[in-house]
């Protein structure tokens, strides 16, 4: 009897330990814990799905728990932002209705949100700089842990207030709806950012429908996302990109170049893979999140790239930063400057450091130059699909390399490493390295080939795949997801064996 009690007690303790936040094992969509949590959640969800108000609260509570498991007591920060902007949103609407000024309320919201963001993004950096300058210990601050997904909910909250002041949307009546908008769990960690105007009707919808095609698409997104995120990006990064950047695979130029191309694929697969999973999970529940990526490396110009890469962020930057700066309404020169400022701040958002600033400025200047080009050259085109085949291939190649070398700035530890990598490519390049490199990193090279192949396949294949999966039905869909998870677990075991690192968070979570 006492044995049994002790066992029960033990199990209870373990369950409690599992349910509370553990900084070493945050909850994401790709953890085993999530699958079980989602299983419990889904049956309840099915029961309440057609009652909008109940459904909202049900999803909100699960989302808040999800965020707590992801980020601990920063949950309070999320709630704080939600309350403050919900109230400010009402004030703004009231002022607007009376024809009064909304500026001060909007400014207050922006200041609060940006202060939060700046505190978490910049504190470590400035403490580090000051201690470097005046000796260690000048400022004795504990390093600040950045709450997961803080940029995403802060940005969405700003957008909500600005949209109300611009009259694009009416303020939400129910606080629960606003919490839902901010905290919906699939998008909580890495986005995509949703537009209030498009998402609010879904929250309030009384007619939630998931068609057979929707479900098949959701399965496709989840499986594709898992393979991209947890197989290709993880193994490519750990087996090839990281050791190549660290110089463990020799100092040859070909390896350096392949490491840059490898990282280019890795960051895409990591980020878009996680977005795919988020989109798929949301779609299974009947919610449509916007596409965040559209095969960005197919872009033939830099302008096109930013319409296909992290679409929700670049749209946000355009709508709320670029346009607020005056956009293209204040003359040509100001337009170019606004572009550069927007990208500079975009770079700064990813990390406070010289390399990120250089990355932002590179893209800003490239965008501005492309605008000039479009103006000066009569036959210039914005999109690849308007170009002839030869020109399109050439332009895509150029754009791809501009972006890839941009990523070098983005990922390098410092400018010295950028110089080192470029030096290796310029002065130590030999095709003779190719065979040894492939032999040394066989798995990673296969992943890279598969990853780029998947990326450059025509988009129409997606729809064919969805049609095919729809025809397969429940069993086929089940098999696809199970095999994808099996692949992920195999890959995890392989990486654990070779590098001692497994699982891990999405790379883009650092930003």
């Amino acid at each position: 009897m006492t044995e049994l009690l002790r066992f029960a007690d033990d199990v209870w303790h373990r369950i409690v330990a599992m349910l509370v936040y553990d900084g070493g094992a945050p909850l994401t969509l790709t953890t085993g814990f999530f699958i079980f949590a989602f299983l419990l959640f889904s049956f309840g969800y099915v029961a309440v799905r057609h009652r909008a108000h109940l459904r909202t609260w049900y999803v909100v509570l699960f989302s808040l728990y999800f965020y707590y498991k992801l980020s601990g007591l920063y949950l309070l920060l999320l709630l704080g932002v939600a309350i403050s902007d919900f109230l400010i949103g009402r004030r703004v609407a009231k002022a607007r209705d009376r024809g009064g000024k909304t500026k001060w309320w909007v400014t207050l919201s922006v200041v609060i949100n940006i202060a939060i963001l700046a505190y978490f993004k910049a504190t470590n950096f400035f403490v580090g700089v000051i201690n470097d300058l005046y000796g260690t210990g000048t400022l004795d601050w504990q390093s600040v842990v950045v709450p997961a997904g803080v940029s995403f909910f802060v940005f969405q909250s700003i957008a909500y207030v600005v949209d109300i002041s611009r009259g694009t949307i009416a303020p939400l009546r129910r606080f629960s709806d606003y919490l839902f908008l901010l905290s919906f769990f699939p998008k909580m960690f890495l986005g995509p950012l949703v537009k209030a105007k498009e998402f609010i009707p879904q929250i309030e919808s009384r007619n939630l429908v998931v068609t057979r095609e929707d479900f098949a698409r959701a399965v496709m997104l989840v499986a594709r996302g898992l393979v991209k995120y947890a197989v290709i990006a993880k193994s490519l990064g750990l087996l090839f990109v990281a050791p190549a950047f660290a110089g463990e695979l020799g100092d040859g130029g070909l390896v350096a170049l392949m490491a840059i191309y490898g990282f280019t694929l890795q960051i895409y697969c990591d980020f878009s893979g996680y977005s795919d999973i988020a989109q798929g999970v949301a779609l299974m529940l009947g919610f449509r999140l916007p596409d965040n990526f559209d095969a960005p490396y197919k872009s033939a110009t830099i302008t096109e790239f930013w319409r296909r890469w992290h679409i929700s962020l670049s749209t946000w930057l355009k709508d709320y930063l670029y346009i607020s700066l005056g956009g293209n309404r204040k003359g040509t020169l100001r337009t170019y400057l606004n572009l550069i400022i927007t990208m500079f701040l975009g770079g700064l958002w990813h990390g406070v450091g010289l390399t990120f600033i250089a990355w932002g400025v590179l893209h800003g200047v490239a965008l501005a130059l492309h605008k000039v080009w479009l103006k000066v050259v009569p036959w210039a085109k914005t999109l690849g699909r308007d170009m002839g085949v030869v020109r399109r291939i050439g332009a895509t190649f150029l754009t791809f390399n501009l972006v890839a070398f941009g990523w070098l700035l983005f990922t390098a530890e410092d400018m010295a490493q950028v110089g080192d990598m470029l030096g290796r490519i310029a002065y130590n390049f030999s095709f003779a390295e190719f065979v040894p490199m492939v032999e040394e990193s066989k798995v990673a090279m296969i992943m890279m080939a598969v990853g780029y192949l998947m990326h450059f396949l025509p988009k129409s294949l997606n729809n064919s795949a969805v049609r095919g999966i729809t025809r397969l039905g429940f069993v086929g869909e089940w098999l696809i997801v199970v095999v994808a998870i099996w692949l992920v677990m195999q890959c995890d075991a392989l990486l654990m064996l070779h590098t001692g690192v497994g699982g891990g968070l999405p790379m883009y979570a650092n930003f």
Binding site: F36, L208, V209, V210, R212, F215, G500
Partner: protein, 534 residues
């Protein structure tokens, strides 16, 4: 209601996915594209870890108690000074038959290394966040040619001096030093050590692993060696060196470690000829008999009273000492059953520079991939060791490769949890800022457990390596240390060269400057001379 609506599907779909993924655990490993697939188990993280952690130990980490114990120790010390209490009891009884060794040492030169830089080495990962941490200091001491002492703590994997004897031999060959180090006085079961001979009689031997059978008077007296021998008049032990390794056939110093609450008397006999009797006054502390002489054998006999004997250490001057502290079926928890006070007193005498923690073989369960509880315990073990040996760097050795028999196919297959446990051990090292070395990686480099068995380096149980296998792993471990020392030595030499070059240039420049001054003044002097002569 929409007839094509599938929004109710998500529940059943998720349930069948969960069941499907759980069923994946039933698929045995098979070969795919030349690689063996792993058995995957979704529940491994959630599955009760109690199975694995039901260690036969009753000890748990009690860092607080340890702190108190150490605190009282220091209070007593300082009180003795302030109050002019009677002289504290003698901790060291010396007997010198030879001139004390000179403590000179000189930095090593790069020519003294035979390092093959093209060979791939499994490096020790040092997680110390300090730029100049304990592990760096350990490497520096080796580069300086200073004496270092290593405590190699482990389980049956290193029992009988497997691995450690070769590790010691390689290190002593490179950095100097002689002697086998610590050897227990008596152990409650028969063991064989190739590197040293020991015969004991008349003792009652206790193991820290059997806490239930321990009398109160010895419970709190254990050293990390894990074994204690209680002896009255007549109890005797003889330790003698062997020529199994070139650095072990004789040594220049021996120490015997004792505890004697009440006064007692023991006799020490060196090389079966010279004798010395020691009267030990009673005190609640660790004592050492310190014998300086060319020694090939040493005998201890209790004459009067009752003593607890830990063992003896056979040592040379300078260089590297490696003490093997293997305790059978210990997962590392046994350290919590040892006395922090005794450990600290031993550290004061011996001065450990490095502690290696080799554990985990008995923790692994087939297919289990979650070891967070063991990771937490390992953190406590590290914390405990750090407090007992405050100046020593700590290296956690990852678990070794292990295969188990599949009852259905009666073929051996990977246990499927080596990598998992290893990464948890690494995580423990990471979070406590100590160092980690992957034994599994080293074994993988040598072909993995199947290669060890087929080459006769490991037992047919696919779990325990033998001396042959131990030698291969010892070489890898020693190489990781020697390479670091070598790198430091080369770096220093290059720095010295650079400084010499700067100095030379400075001197040249001074010379040139003086010459130019002379060149400038000479014509004037000559002019003056000329005008004078004219």
């Amino acid at each position: 209601m929409n007839r094509s609506d599938r929004s109710s599907r998500v529940g059943w779909f998720t349930l069948s996915v969960v069941l499907g993924v759980m069923a994946l655990a039933l698929i045995p490993p098979f070969e795919l594209f030349g690689m063996l697939t792993a058995r995957v188990d979704l529940l491994s993280e959630l599955r009760a870890e109690s199975l694995a952690d039901e260690a036969p130990m009753e000890y748990t980490a009690d860092i607080e108690r340890l702190e108190q114990e150490l605190a009282t120790m220091e209070v007593v010390d300082s009180a003795a000074i302030v109050d002019r209490l009677p002289e504290p009891p003698v901790t060291r009884y010396e007997w010198s038959l030879a001139a004390p060794a000179t403590q000179e040492h000189r930095p090593l030169r790069s020519e003294e290394f035979a390092v093959d830089t093209t060979r791939r080495v499994i490096a020790i990962e040092d997680f110390d966040t300090l730029a100049h941490g304990k592990f760096d200091h350990f490497i520096e001491k080796l580069a300086d040619g200073e004496h270092v002492r290593i405590a190699f703590m482990g389980d049956s994997f290193i029992e009988g001096d497997i691995l450690t004897s070769d590790f010691r031999a390689i290190m002593q060959e490179q950095f100097g030093g002689r002697g086998v180090g610590f050897v227990a006085c008596d152990i409650p079961f028969a063991t064989v050590r190739k590197s040293v001979k020991r015969s004991s009689s008349g003792w009652i031997a206790y193991s820290v692993m059997k806490p239930k059978s321990l009398p109160e008077r010895v419970k709190d007296k254990f050293f990390v060696s894990g074994y204690l021998a209680e002896g009255k008049a007549g109890a005797t032990t003889r330790w003698s060196s062997t020529d199994a390794f070139s650095t072990l056939d004789s040594c220049s110093r021996a120490r015997v470690f004792l505890y004697s609450r009440d006064s007692s008397s023991v006799i020490v006999e060196v090389n079966d000829s010279l004798r010395q009797s020691f009267d030990i006054e009673g005190a609640d502390m660790l004592r050492e008999l310190y014998i300086e002489a060319p020694i090939s054998s040493l005998r201890l006999r209790v004459e009067r009273g009752e003593v607890l004997c830990y063992g003896a250490s056979l040592e040379g001057d300078g260089g590297v000492m490696v003490d093997n502290f293997s305790v059978r079926s210990n997962n590392g928890h046994a350290i919590f059953g040892t006395s922090a006070k005794i450990n600290r007193q031993a550290d004061d005498m011996l001065g450990y520079d490095l502690v290696v923690l080799q554990y985990g073989l008995n923790i692994m369960q087939k297919g289990q991939r979650g070891y967070s509880r063991y990771r937490d315990q390992l953190r406590d073990m590290i914390a405990y060791a750090e407090r007992c040996f405050p100046n020593a760097a700590i290296v956690v050795m990852g678990v070794s490769d292990r295969w188990v028999k599949n009852e259905e196919t009666s073929k051996y297959e990977p246990i499927g949890s080596v990598d998992a446990l290893s990464s948890y051990q690494r995580a423990a090292a990471d979070s406590t800022n100590v160092a980690f070395w992957s034994t599994a990686k080293a074994m993988e480099k040598l072909g993995g457990m199947p290669a060890f068995v087929s080459k006769g380096w490991a037992a047919k149980d696919y779990t325990h390596i033998n001396f042959q296998g131990g030698r291969r792993i010892a070489k890898e471990l020693a190489a990781s240390i020697i390479n670091e020392v070598y790198a430091l030595v080369v770096e220093r030499e290059e720095e010295a060269k650079r400084l010499a070059e700067i100095e030379r240039e400075r001197r040249e420049a001074t010379k040139r400057y003086i010459q130019s001054q002379i060149d400038a003044v000479l014509p004037i002097i000559e002019g003056v001379q000329q005008s004078v002569t004219e």
